[in-house]
C-alpha cells in the first residue's frame, strides 16, 4: 500500500565514478588532460593561463580582466568580426573568463569541429591584435560593470568585506574587477604588455572533455601550440595577510535602505589545505545548505531573512570566509548576534554525528548533478590544474566526503574558524543600525559613507 503521508525513503545511492582521463605534458610545458565523454557528440576545451588578477598590484587591478575581454578584437590575421565569423561558421562558442587565480579561455563545439576551433583558440591567445577601438570598447564595458557593482548593495558589501578583512596592499583586499580610476587609466599598451608576459605556456594547462580521442587531441594540441614559448610558471600565491586579529565592525551608510546586507567573517584558508573535505562538511552544517544551523536559525526560527549562507572562497591563497545575508533594517543587530553565536557555538562544540551524516549524504548525492555536461567536467579537471591538486582528487571525492566524521569535521572547524577575529560589514542605514551593533560584542564599530 502506498504511503503518501511521509516522504518516500530514497533508494540505494548509486555508485558513480568520475570519468577517467589521460594526462600528458606537451613539449612547451603545457599540461594536456583529455577526458573521454562519448554521451553526446560535443567537446569542450579549456586553456588555463597563469594570468589571474592575483598577480597584479593594487593600482593595476582589473588589467587581467580587461586583457581577457579585449581578446574580442581578434588576431593579427583575423580582425574581431572575421574571427567571430570563423568560429561561428563551425558553430563554436568561445568564452574568456578571468578570476583571481587564472584566466581561462574556453571553447565549446561539436566534437568533429574541434581541430579548427582549437586552432582558432590558439591563434587568439598567441597573436591577439588588441586594436585600439576594441580595447576601448572592452574598457567602457568594464567601467559600466564597476558602476553597476558599486550601486548594488550586495556587491558593495562584498567589496567592503574584502577591504576590511585583508591588509592594505594585499591583492584580495580589492575587487577583482578593479576600480573606476584604475581601469579608466588602462590603455592598449598595458593590455598588450600583460598578454605578452602572461599568456605563455609555462604553467599553463589545456583540458579537453568530450567525444574525442586522446591521441588525436594530443597531436592536434602539439600542432596548434607548436613554437609557443616562455612564461614564468605558476606564480606564488598571495599571502592573504589579515588587516587585524581582533573583532571589528564597519557600517557602510545607505540612508533610507529598508534592508541591510550583512557579511561576517575573516581571512579563510587556501584551496590546497589537507583537511578541506572535513571543513566543507563542517561548513555545510554551519551554513552551507538549506537545513544548516544558520539558515534554520535566521530564516526558519526567527524569520529574519530569505536565506543565509556561509562560504569559503577557495583561491590559491587564503580567500575570505564569509557568512552573508540580507535582512530588514530593524533586525540587523539581532541577525548579527545570531551569526556570531552560531559561529562561536560550532567552533566550541563541533557538529553532531547526525548533522555530519546529513551533510555527507547531501554532498555525496549532489556531486554528480554538476557533472552533466562536457563543460562542467572540463571545468572540474581544469580546477585541479589551477590549484595543483592530486590527479585522483575528484575520483576519490565522494569516498573522502563519506569518510568525514563528527570528530574530523570538528577538528577542521577548530583549526580554521577564528571567532575571536570576526570582521563584520553592514551595508545599510547607519542611523538605524550602528548603535545596536555597538552594544554587541563585535569590536569597535566604524561608519563610512561611500
Amino acid at each position: 500500500m502506498l504511503d503518501r503521508t511521509h516522504a518516500p525513503p530514497p533508494g540505494p545511492l548509486r555508485a558513480f565514478d568520475f570519468p577517467p582521463s589521460t594526462l600528458t605534458r606537451l613539449p612547451h610545458g603545457v599540461a594536456l588532460e583529455v577526458v573521454h565523454l562519448p554521451r553526446l557528440p560535443l567537446a569542450t576545451a579549456i586553456l588555463v593561463l597563469r594570468a589571474g588578477e592575483d598577480r597584479l598590484p593594487t593600482d593595476r587591478g582589473g588589467l587581467a580582466v580587461l586583457a581577457g575581454d579585449a581578446l574580442e578584437g581578434g588576431t593579427d590575421e583575423l580582425d574581431g568580426h572575421a574571427f567571430a565569423e570563423a568560429l561561428e561558421s563551425i558553430g563554436a562558442d568561445l568564452d574568456v573568463s578571468t578570476g583571481w587565480d587564472v584566466t581561462t579561455v574556453s571553447l565549446s563545439c561539436l566534437a568533429d569541429r574541434l581541430p579548427r576551433a582549437l586552432e582558432l583558440l590558439a591563434s587568439l591567445v598567441r597573436t591577439p591584435a588588441y586594436p585600439e577601438a576594441e580595447v576601448r570598447r572592452a574598457r567602457d564595458g568594464q567601467l559600466a560593470r564597476i558602476r553597476q557593482r558599486d550601486m548594488n548593495p550586495g556587491s558593495r558589501a562584498g567589496t567592503w568585506a574584502a577591504r576590511t578583512l585583508y591588509a592594505a596592499g594585499e591583492p584580495y583586499a580589492r575587487s577583482a574587477l578593479g576600480d573606476a580610476d584604475g581601469v579608466g587609466a588602462l590603455g592598449r599598451d598595458a593590455v598588450v604588455g600583460f598578454a605578452e608576459a602572461y599568456y605563455r605556456p609555462a604553467g599553463a594547462a589545456l583540458v579537453v572533455a568530450g567525444d574525442v580521442d586522446a591521441g588525436e587531441v594530443e597531436a592536434l594540441a602539439a600542432r596548434v601550440l607548436d613554437g609557443w614559448v616562455g612564461g614564468d610558471g605558476v606564480p606564488d600565491a598571495p599571502a592573504g595577510a589579515s588587516a587585524g586579529a581582533e573583532r571589528r565592525a564597519v557600517v557602510v551608510d545607505r540612508p533610507g535602505a529598508v534592508q541591510s546586507e550583512i557579511r561576517v567573517g575573516h581571512v579563510g584558508a587556501p584551496r590546497g589545505i589537507e583537511d578541506r573535505v572535513d571543513l566543507v562538511v563542517g561548513n555545510a552544517v554551519l551554513g552551507g545548505t538549506f537545513s544548516s544551523r544558520l539558515n534554520l536559525n535566521l530564516r526558519e526560527r526567527h524569520g529574519f531573512t530569505y536565506g543565509v549562507r556561509a562560504r569559503w572562497s577557495w583561491r590559491r591563497g587564503p580567500g575570505p570566509f564569509l557568512v552573508g545575508t540580507a535582512v530588514d533594517t530593524d533586525v540587523t543587530a539581532d541577525a548579527v548576534r545570531e551569526i556570531f553565536s552560531e559561529i562561536e557555538r560550532i567552533h566550541a562544540e563541533g557538529p553532531t554525528a547526525e548533522e555530519v551524516e546529513q551533510a555527507r549524504d547531501y554532498l555525496a548525492g549532489v556531486f554528480p548533478l554538476r557533472l552533466e555536461s562536457t563543460a562542467q567536467v572540463a571545468a572540474r579537471v581544469a580546477e585541479r590544474h589551477v590549484f595543483e591538486l592530486a590527479g585522483d582528487h575528484w575520483a576519490t571525492w565522494r569516498d573522502r566526503i563519506r569518510a568525514v566524521t563528527a570528530e574530523s569535521a570538528r577538528a577542521a572547524l577548530r583549526r580554521h574558524l577564528r571567532p575571536e577575529a570576526l570582521q563584520c560589514v553592514v551595508v545599510g542605514e547607519a542611523d538605524a543600525v550602528a548603535r545596536d551593533l555597538a552594544s554587541l560584542d563585535v569590536g569597535p564599530v566604524g561608519v563610512v559613507d561611500r
Binding site: 502506498l2 545511492l13 557528440p41 567571430a84 558553430g91 563554436a92 548533478l369 552533466e372
Partner: protein
C-alpha cells in the same frame, strides 16, 4: 553529427501523458511537468492568476507541509522550480536518481490533493509575494514595463496574449479561494498534463512508479481525457489575427531609464506552423552570435551598446518576434530606431554563408541544450504538450537543414521587413545622465 535521444511514451488511464528518456550515464534524474494552462487561459478580471496559482502549488498539499516541497528537494541535494508562461505552466525537479520517488510523491500530491491544503492565509501571503515580485521585477525596474506595453501594441483588444503573465494589481487583489479551487479543478488535471522523466531510470520501472503515484488521480474538469499532448493547446487557439500586423503601431515612453532603448515587435506565424523554422533561422542571421548582423553592423562599430533578436515560441494562432537595441548615454533615439529598421528591411538580402553560420550555431546549441537533463526534460514536455511529438527533439536539425536560402529570405521579407511593426521607444527623462 546528429543527436538521438531515446524516448518512451505512455498514457495513463486518467489521461496523463508520460514521457521517459533514459540516460544512465550519471546517477541523476530530471522530473518535469507541463500543465496545459498559461496566462492566455485567464478570464477577464483575473489577469495574473495562472502565475499566482503557480505560487500556491508550492504552499503544500494534503500530505506535504507548506514549504515542504522546497525543503525536501534541497535536502536531497536537488534543485527545483516552476514557471508560468503564456501557453503553459511548468514544474521541475532535478535530483540524485535514488531520490526519484521523492519527486513523484511531491508532484502527485499536489496534482491530486492540493485543494485540501489551501487556506485564505496562504493565498493572502502568496498574493503579497507576487505583488512584491511585480514591484521588484517590473514596476521598479528601468524598462520593467516594456513587455506590458509591447503586448498592448502588438495584440488587439480581447486577444489572450494582450495582457502580461504577471497581471494587474487590481486583478490579483480580486482573486479569492474559490478562484483557486476552480482553476485547479479546470486545469490541474492529469488529462491536461505531460510528465517527463529524463535520466538514470529504467523505462518500465519509471512507468510503474508513475502509475503507482499518479494512477489513482481521477481525470477532472471540462478537459476531455486525451491528454494535453493531443495538440489541444494549439487547437484551442482563439482570436485569429492578421500576420503580419496590418498597421504599424508606436509608443514613445519618457521615463527614468538610464539609456535609450528601442524595442520592435512583429507578428509572426505560431510555433506550430512549419513557417516558424525559417523565421527561426532568419532571426539567427540577424541576432545570434557576434558575427550576426546586429552585432557586426551595430554593436561592434559603436552605433549601439547591445542588440538582440529572437522569436517567442507561442502557439495561439500567431507568435511574436522581438528585436531591440540599447544606445549609449548620448544616443539619439531616432538614430537607434532607424538603425534597427534598416537591419530589418535589408535582411531579405541575406546569403547562403549567413544561413550556414546561423545553422551551425543552432546545431551546436541544440546539442548542448540536451546535455543538461533539466533542459532535456523540459524540451520533451514542451514538444509533447504543444506538438504531441516528443520525437521532435531528434528531428529539429534535419528540419532546419532542409530549408533553402530562398525560404529564409522569403521569411525575412514577409515577416521581418513587414511595415506592420510595433515600435516602443524609451527615452531617458534627464538627458546626458550617465549610464
Amino acid at each position: 553529427m546528429s543527436v538521438e535521444i531515446e524516448i518512451h511514451r505512455h498514457r495513463l488511464a486518467n489521461g496523463l501523458e508520460v514521457v521517459v528518456a533514459p540516460d544512465r550515464a550519471l546517477p541523476v534524474v530530471a522530473v518535469n511537468l507541463w500543465y496545459g494552462v498559461g496566462s492566455r487561459n485567464e478570464r477577464p478580471g483575473r489577469t495574473g492568476f495562472a502565475h499566482l496559482f503557480e505560487h500556491m502549488m508550492f504552499q503544500g498539499s494534503k500530505h506535504v507541509a507548506k514549504n515542504g516541497h522546497f525543503e525536501a528537494v534541497e535536502r536531497a541535494g536537488g534543485s527545483l522550480n516552476g514557471s508560468t508562461w503564456f501557453d503553459r505552466t511548468n514544474y521541475y525537479e532535478t535530483l540524485p536518481s535514488h531520490q526519484l520517488d521523492l519527486a513523484l510523491w511531491l508532484e502527485s500530491d499536489r496534482m491530486g490533493w492540493l485543494v485540501d491544503a489551501m487556506t485564505q492565509e496562504k493565498l493572502d501571503n502568496q498574493r503579497d509575494v507576487v505583488k512584491n515580485e511585480k514591484r521588484e521585477r517590473y514596476d521598479n525596474q528601468p524598462y520593467g514595463d516594456w513587455m506590458e506595453r509591447m503586448q498592448r501594441l502588438v495584440w488587439p483588444h480581447g486577444h489572450p496574449y494582450r495582457h502580461t503573465v504577471i497581471g494587474s494589481m487590481e486583478d490579483l487583489d480580486a482573486a479569492d479561494l474559490d478562484d483557486v479551487k476552480d482553476f485547479f479543478r479546470t486545469w490541474y488535471v492529469p488529462n491536461n498534463a505531460v510528465l517527463t522523466i529524463a535520466g538514470d531510470v529504467d523505462p518500465a520501472d519509471a512507468f510503474d512508479r508513475v502509475e503507482r503515484w499518479f494512477g489513482e488521480i481521477p481525470p477532472r474538469g471540462g478537459a476531455a481525457t486525451g491528454g494535453a499532448g493531443a495538440g489541444r493547446i494549439a487547437a484551442g487557439a482563439t482570436a485569429p489575427v492578421a500576420v503580419p500586423m496590418e498597421r504599424p503601431a508606436r509608443e514613445v515612453v519618457e521615463s527614468d531609464v538610464p539609456l535609450v532603448r528601442v524595442f520592435i515587435g512583429l507578428r509572426i506565424p505560431p510555433f506550430t506552423d512549419p513557417a516558424f523554422d525559417a523565421v527561426d533561422v532568419a532571426a539567427g542571421v540577424l541576432g545570434s552570435g557576434r558575427a550576426a548582423r546586429l552585432y557586426a553592423r551595430l554593436v561592434r562599430p559603436g552605433v549601439v551598446r547591445d542588440a538582440f533578436a529572437f522569436p517567442f515560441p507561442l502557439v495561439g494562432g500567431a507568435s511574436i518576434l522581438l528585436v531591440g537595441a540599447t544606445g549609449f548615454a548620448d544616443s539619439d533615439p531616432e538614430v537607434v530606431e532607424r538603425a534597427l529598421v534598416e537591419q530589418l528591411e535589408s535582411l531579405p538580402d541575406l546569403d547562403g554563408t549567413e544561413v550556414e553560420r546561423a545553422l551551425a550555431l543552432e546545431e551546436a546549441r541544440a546539442a548542448r541544450q540536451l546535455e543538461r537533463l533539466e533542459a532535456r526534460a523540459d524540451r520533451l514536455s514542451m514538444y509533447t504538450c504543444l506538438l504531441d511529438r516528443p520525437e521532435r527533439v531528434n528531428e529539429d536539425l534535419d528540419r532546419l537543414r532542409a530549408l533553402t536560402v530562398e525560404e529564409v529570405r522569403d521569411a525575412a521579407g514577409r515577416w521581418f521587413a513587414a511595415p506592420g511593426r510595433a515600435t516602443l521607444v524609451y527615452v531617458p527623462i534627464s538627458e546626458g545622465e550617465a549610464d
